[in-house]
Symmetry: C2
Subunit: 340 residues, 2 copies
Amino acid sequence: MSALAQSILSGEVRAASRLMRQIDDRDPAATLVLRELFAHTGKAYVIGITGSPGAGKSTLTDRLIAWYRKQGKSVGVIAVDPTSPFTGGAILGDRIRMQGHATDPGVFIRSLATRGNLGGLSRATGDCLKVMDAMGREVIIVETVGVGQDEIDIAQLAHTTCVVLVPGMGDDIQAIKAGILEIADAFVVNKADLDGSDRVVRELRAMLELRHAVKAHPPIDHDEQHRLKGAVGTRLQPQGDGEWEPPIVKTVAARDQGLAELAEAIDLHRAFLETSGQKQEREVRRAETQLVSLLRDRLLAAGLARLEREKGNLAEVAAQIAQLKLDPYALADELAGAAK
Amino acid sequence: MSALAQSILSGEVRAASRLMRQIDDRDPAATLVLRELFAHTGKAYVIGITGSPGAGKSTLTDRLIAWYRKQGKSVGVIAVDPTSPFTGGAILGDRIRMQGHATDPGVFIRSLATRGNLGGLSRATGDCLKVMDAMGREVIIVETVGVGQDEIDIAQLAHTTCVVLVPGMGDDIQAIKAGILEIADAFVVNKADLDGSDRVVRELRAMLELRHAVKAHPPIDHDEQHRLKGAVGTRLQPQGDGEWEPPIVKTVAARDQGLAELAEAIDLHRAFLETSGQKQEREVRRAETQLVSLLRDRLLAAGLARLEREKGNLAEVAAQIAQLKLDPYALADELAGAAK
């Protein structure tokens, strides 16, 4: 085993940071270490905190950290910021919000941001989760904005996903609620001291009821059926008696209110997964999400390397496509043909 | 040329719908038709409408459709919904908002949603854009929630990207602003009749000024430099004298206010791209974004097909990974090795 892997297994933060930097750099050396660590993972409990911008996720995460630290648990945090890193403002913001824990060796916070159009955010999150798991962090919190496609994947890397909403976000928020209903193990109505928090709770209840109705009587619209057929995952199956009903917890994170209730909801879900036998199902889904992200990323890297070798660099190839001199569909078929 | 491609080139909506369904289905037959159409694309002007949930993007899109129709232009709309299609609510919502145009043959609206963890939303958007372009739509509007990684890619498929903000979304919205600053060709402050719209405009101005400052004096923080180095794209370069300053337009879309100003801002940006010589640069970036999405999708499909052939189906493989019996990193390396 490499010295780096050994240091990480003994919990060294500096070693873990070094590996995470290599992960971020797409350094092939990182994979070798991740392979060494893999057998030592699977012990951490992963909590996802997701929701719209402005919902107060960072403050909530900050308070959850404090909660688990009081219980003597070591905590890892991955703050995923899907916006671009160009101005640096967002990342700095996350760090400032959580800086009360900066001197606590029991808290390890890592920010991850989008890397231009090569993507790979969910892959990087999955990798960093494995590192924090291998170094012995008992609870890992993954915080992300929950409205993008990759971000929904990221939420699915968690054992318990908490979806955070706030009052007064307008009617369009219904759309988001419809989407995130499926990934929520618990709903948090944060800033519950604001007007309209009861309305959000009522709307959530109504949507949860609607979900039951939809499951009993699936839509007959052809388009909808067509989409449902193509959708991946087991969540479309009726869950029967062993079904988990996501609790709705009101919090005012900035004033540390409702955190005990939220932690209890998370504990209950964890107990549910374990006693219902659904823990294993969840682990399979987590592994599937991680594998697909990993494959997507590695295959793209290999394909782009091959493109560069055979056709020239990406910008040159794109210029030929823009001039209609090169057909991107033929090119993609050619490169994918080799991967078959 | 196939009959389907011919029908699409002559502008038939039913033929285009059929191909788009095949695209959505990942039907390999679709690629052959897309290859036939490719040489006939490049004529449409593509406008991106992006922003947070609740910003009123669908209403704004609806009014822009009406605006371009009044000018006699044929319009295509791709409403991208990154939330899950399970409940169908969001998609239905989009359609309801735009249904005033349902009987107008000059307006062709298509909704696209996430397809589980196989992703591919930006690939599907790129493909549908080509179809609408080939069928002769003069203006194509792509509407998407602008806070995810894929959604930023989608915004980069446009010639002119309009970022929509609303007053009163709280302090955390700063984070989003920081991220979308880089992709905005125009800012829209919608619901400008609400309190705080002037504050949003002021904050945007301040951030645009900050961007100038950051460009003149890049951050020296090591982490930040490290990330910037890895980021893709030419937007990090100082743009010099030919720089476009994104205008800030106030609208109240629900009352049809400010639409003329917004349309003018879009026209100005279009003229800027053409006269500054940056149109070509933009086309290259668009082609690059589309190619990367296409490669990511095709390579993943090929890799998963190979996985299935050699190791068993995805769920079985994921189960072995969850039990730590199979190392996903070794597996990904093996599959990517073949793609090299």
